[in-house]
Point group: C2
């Protein structure tokens, strides 16, 4: 892990940009660290530059509550090498959504499964690197999307103790089976009128999760309209499970 | 309004039992009142004695956050005169549920519509009486069930500014139409595996509410298993809308 910039933002947030091998990432921590802070990994749909303002907003919520927060770029997004196969699958999916046609499972599988297979070990490597830093301790939460990445991480990574998952993307059938194996506490966010997302699929996925402690928070507004107060609600959920 | 008992419980909660005409009720307030407290009306399925421990728990949450909380007995429940028609409808409904048969709209209408018609003016009279007391000010929230009573109150009573509604009972079709007229902020609680409640109906009802700011909180467990943390979540919702 190679820190490429280190600055103190307003309101006591320290922001470090880094690379993990070839993967760019950002770490936000409380400016002065009294004790090792629990860590929250911030998931996103890919494109760190584009997502930066929203990620920073979420990170500020985390840091204000005493957590460290970190994220890395997804495979094939932002400054990382494109995947022609993923670009093709994304174009195929967009065509279906724009034509208001049902999206075939085959397209979703082609888009999401390789991404999950590639991204999850990267987030695990991120965990290895971050938990070795002074000032960052366990336990760790995952917050955000892509929900399929969150599901796989929750199943395979024992250092993830709780997750706030954003039901805002298409989920391969195979991940429903993995969802049944999830046993950590979950809070699932659903934007009720998310045009690019299938509400019934999201409700079915919530139903499928195997964990005994799961809560669904559904709010109005489109994909990017998650209310501000869900940041606090996420912190309170993590406070119950990461302390 | 006639106060029949007045006591100070542990942790600074003052509890007054009263009658409003022939209707028994309970008012909980902070023991020492610095400024008029906003009021939260606590809905319930009927039977104040039976519901008392859970109502007191909810009231303690409210009072700890600086609210006054109050409730009254429902028509036909507890010590109030029974309604033979309602008892008959309730028995018909129970038979259907126990036989795992679909519950006819006609039974739901017979059970719930007269109850709503009778109860809502009583809760409005309660509001008149409480808001005349020193130490209690507006604005006012409604919290709980029966959800049909909450819907009607939200539509007809302008002093209700926000509501946490418990989707735990059968709702007449006519109330779906009233739900479309609701414009106050709502937080709707749904117990995902509530055996006496139709999950899809609850989701349809959430969808029907006309308000722009509505949030669904779905949790695991049966009808009486609403997690403790939803008490706090309700307070934070009211803090956003009653202050």
């Amino acid at each position: 892990m190679n820190v490429t910039s280190d600055k103190h933002l307003a309101d006591g947030v320290r922001e470090r940009e880094f690379t993990l091998g070839e993967i760019p990432g950002i770490l936000w921590t409380p400016g002065s660290v009294p004790a090792p802070a629990p860590l929250i990994l911030l998931g996103h749909p890919g494109g760190l530059h584009r997502m930066y303002p929203r990620l920073l907003g979420r990170a500020r919520h985390c840091v204000a509550a005493g957590y460290a927060a970190a994220t890395i770029e997804l495979p094939g997004s932002g400054d990382r090498p494109r995947s022609p196969a993923a670009d093709q699958a994304r174009a195929d999916l967009r065509r279906k959504v724009e034509a208001d046609e049902p999206v075939d499972d085959e397209i979703v599988d082609r888009l999401v499964l390789p991404l999950v297979d590639e991204a999850v070990p990267e987030w695990q490597a991120l965990l290895d690197a971050l938990l070795a830093l002074p000032g960052i301790g366990g336990p760790t939460g995952f917050s955000g999307g892509i929900i399929s990445i969150g599901i796989r991480l929750a199943v395979v990574e024992p250092r993830i103790s709780a997750a706030v998952l954003f039901a805002g993307s298409f989920v391969p059938r195979a991940l429903f089976d993995e969802a049944r194996q999830v046993t950590i506490p979950l809070q699932v966010l659903l934007q009720w009128d998310d045009q690019g997302n299938d509400r019934q699929m999201a409700l079915d996925l919530f139903d499928a999760f195997g964990t005994a402690e799961k809560t669904l928070h559904a709010n109005m507004g489109g994909h990017a309209g998650v209310p501000e107060f869900e940041g606090e609600a996420g912190n309170r959920f993590f406070a119950r499970h990461l302390r």
